[in-house]
Symmetry: C2
Subunit: 462 residues, 2 copies
């Protein structure tokens, strides 16, 4: 019997599709790579996922789980065909509870929807990946998603209190729960968060929520040099501030934003900082002024402060337009989410400037200065069309990653390894680390059916 017929029998016709457009839709994410699955399954319950995994386990069929498809590294590309398992229909917010400060959600819930739901109950879900209006919580968990606010509030992992996970053999693991602290056994939650669909399929999550900060303030400042802006970052921390976001942008990014938004909307100077504060109204008011005063000593070209959600968002419009501005240049934007130790921000800017000169590609750096997680965008014409360009950019990326690793930095801070970073996976990890990864993979997915073809293969498996 054909795979599709078997699955229809197992799960019902409405949950299975081999419609060509559907296969294409489930062939990849926001990155370049794509490979169609043989069939797409739309799970509607944990029982569906469990039945499917039991079936796939017995028959050794690849299953590649996926959220909303907003990944940046090809993590959910079903490289070996088989079944693409969509969790998009499992999109219920089961509960948002003020007294316990938790939400219980299915993996298909769009991140911004949970944030809005929490806000209505004076609660706050901090992780804010750029794609939060489109990406889903299941995908956020699979990639341990970050965002600007993670500087103060931490990444997705810090908000997962409990998980229901279907294992490769179809068994359903429930781990953690609705308490804000838990020391019962090993950290199984941590093992699944960020595992990029290689160890299990998340079917429910209990998330920690915080009290909603009633007020917000933003400071926007531009500087003559990147070095000055990086110095400002250090001064802010030295004064004991832990902003909810601390974003930096370099000259090329600002220029592109000027082209895109109109010159008058982009700040002058070669570097720009955005600093966000949240908390009690009186506190953020006094703190944003104290910050402005602190930065005055560093002689910014211009500085503005804003209070309240809408005025702050006006200053953030610039930041939110960076990606689109760079895309609007017509060049292919290779967004590498490297992280350097925070003290190396200026070194990074100087190094990318050297790379630009050497290879002739503009490089736009912007992102989360506070935690050293800078999006380094190499901008190349004809990247996909011209094999020589592709190879030359590859060399520039090699140099970038090797320098970042030499500084004690890492090749990915938010997006994960997926396919995009697979080439540098051996440089970024030791032999023993890769061995432990393989051991874990073999222990939890002995037949290697979960998201196969990615950066870890099960060894020593059955």
């Amino acid at each position: 019997m054909l795979l599709v017929r078997q699955l229809e029998k197992l799960l019902g016709k409405s949950r299975v599709s081999v419609d060509p457009a559907t296969l294409v839709e489930h062939a990849g994410d926001k990155w370049f790579a794509s490979h169609p699955p043989e069939v797409v399954v739309f799970a509607e319950s944990t029982a569906d996922v469990s039945k499917l995994m039991k079936f796939a386990y017995r028959r050794r069929i690849p299953v590649t789980p996926r959220g909303a498809g907003y990944g940046y590294v090809g993590g959910c590309v079903p490289l070996q065909g088989g079944i693409a398992l969509s969790l998009a229909r499992m999109n219920r917010i089961k509960e948002i509870n003020f007294a316990d400060a938790v939400a219980v959600v299915e993996p298909g819930v769009i991140t911004a929807r949970l944030q809005a739901g929490a806000r209505e109950k004076r609660l706050f879900y901090p992780p804010d990946p750029a794609s939060m209006k489109d990406c889903s919580l299941g995908g956020n968990i699979a990639t341990n998603a970050g965002g600007p606010r993670c500087l103060k509030y931490g990444v997705t992992r810090q908000y997962v209190l409990g998980l229901e996970v279907v294992l490769s053999n179809g068994e359903v693991l429930r781990t953690g729960g609705r308490t804000h602290k838990n020391k019962t056994g090993f950290d199984l939650i941590g093992m699944f968060v960020g595992s990029e669909g290689l160890l299990g399929v998340v079917t429910e999550a209990t998330l920690r929520l915080l009290p909603l900060p009633p007020a917000r303030a933003t400071l926007s400042a531009s500087f003559r040099t990147f070095r000055q802006a990086a110095r400002a970052v250090q001064e802010i921390f030295a004064a004991g501030f832990l902003p909810s976001a601390l974003e930096i942008a370099d000259a090329f990014t600002l220029e592109a934003a000027g082209e895109y938004l109109g010159k008058h909307l982009a700040p002058k100077g070669s570097a720009h900082l955005l600093v966000d504060l949240d908390g009690q109204p009186e506190s953020v008011t006094s703190e944003v002024h104290a910050l402005a005063k602190l930065l005055e000593k560093l002689k910014p070209i211009g500085a503005r402060t804003a209070l309240g959600e809408s005025d702050c968002e006006e200053l953030w419009n610039l930041r939110r337009a960076f990606s689109m501005s760079l895309k609007a240049t017509g060049l292919t934007k290779l967004n590498e989410d490297i992280v350097v130790p925070r003290g190396k921000l200026t070194d990074l800017a100087e190094f990318t400037e050297k790379l630009r000169k050497k290879y002739g590609y503009p490089i736009a750096c912007f992102g989360h200065a506070g935690d050293g997680n800078i999006h380094v965008n190499i901008m190349a014409a004809n990247y996909h069309q011209d094999r020589a360009v592709y190879k030359k950019v590859g060399k520039a990326l090699d140099e970038l990653f090797h320098q970042v690793l030499a500084w004690g930095g890492v090749i990915t801070g938010e997006h994960g390894i997926g396919i995009a970073k697979q080439r540098w996976w051996p440089d970024a990890t030791s032999r023993v680390s890769r061995q432990v990864h393989a051991t874990l993979k073999a222990a939890l997915d002995p037949h290697g059916i979960l998201n196969p073809g990615k950066f870890v293969k099960a060894v020593g498996g059955k």
Copy 2:
């Protein structure tokens, strides 16, 4: 050849001891259980640990690693004898770096020493277990230690950026690094943090540090009923405050503190709250007054505020005396670090009152109200001497844990499972969860030599 001679040959005489007093010292922690090792090894380097583990792996000799011995659940008791591996001599702070906001430490560093070192450089290491002046960072990592400040700042896990771990076979794994964000592969760090010495031996940690908050304020308030105090907890969050600590104490605890410290130093009323705020000076000043005003509506019997480290610590003296006050009653204090969903604080107090009536033992509840992590202390005379008392207390604990689990709570929030909670481990976890634990243990410690006899056994191991 005797084990001790083999180890002396391998590591040098100065690192090996079978002195009877030394064996007794390394037989347990702050809990009751104890079992002497055959020999104690004092590692002085990663190479020592690696050599030792290779030796033990080949010969299948139990190795029980230990920090400063300040655990509360018997986690480092060498139940099967063999080698007690002390990391106490590996106590160097290798680096505290302001620009990168990291510290690199060996496992034997006492927690308070790192905190003091960080403070000198305007940096802040938040985790504050009660024993911070005596416990070591290696032990904190092995138990994922918490403390009052974890409400705002999170537990030890959130501060571990990189680890060096010696695996059961002696291989040295280095994972993570000195960046504040990292999405390179699976979360191996999370797997070792809190694994209670069952999966590997931590020999170095790179820790995340925060900017030092320049100011602190404390609010102390007492209430007629526990219910009112629990209501105050919810009101504080509803107003958008995320205090750095939010501690509660019940009537019995306050009474014992009154006996111990003198009546005039213990607050009146049946429940007491301590709320800590930290941040910029102007902010904490205005916030502590706003909080006092907020709580006025709930008609506390008394309320005091304090600004600045020394005045705040004066209010905290009461809190810090709770454990000693309870011990001073002469009764055996069985401290259970259960966690309930935050909305269940009053239910917990009412339930322990029922237990008190039913079993006749006083029960003192105090602790981290903000995250529902309450230390429930059953106070019993002749616990160790009288088998009937021991059994009756066991029954009361059974009832307590079963109710906590029924509420969606957990049996341990900070201390871990160790030996103390082993009896309730099957109630607190599902079959599938225990199976995954055993699979992980078998994958990483196939011969079951690391801290054997505890709550997870390697199955399917070689």
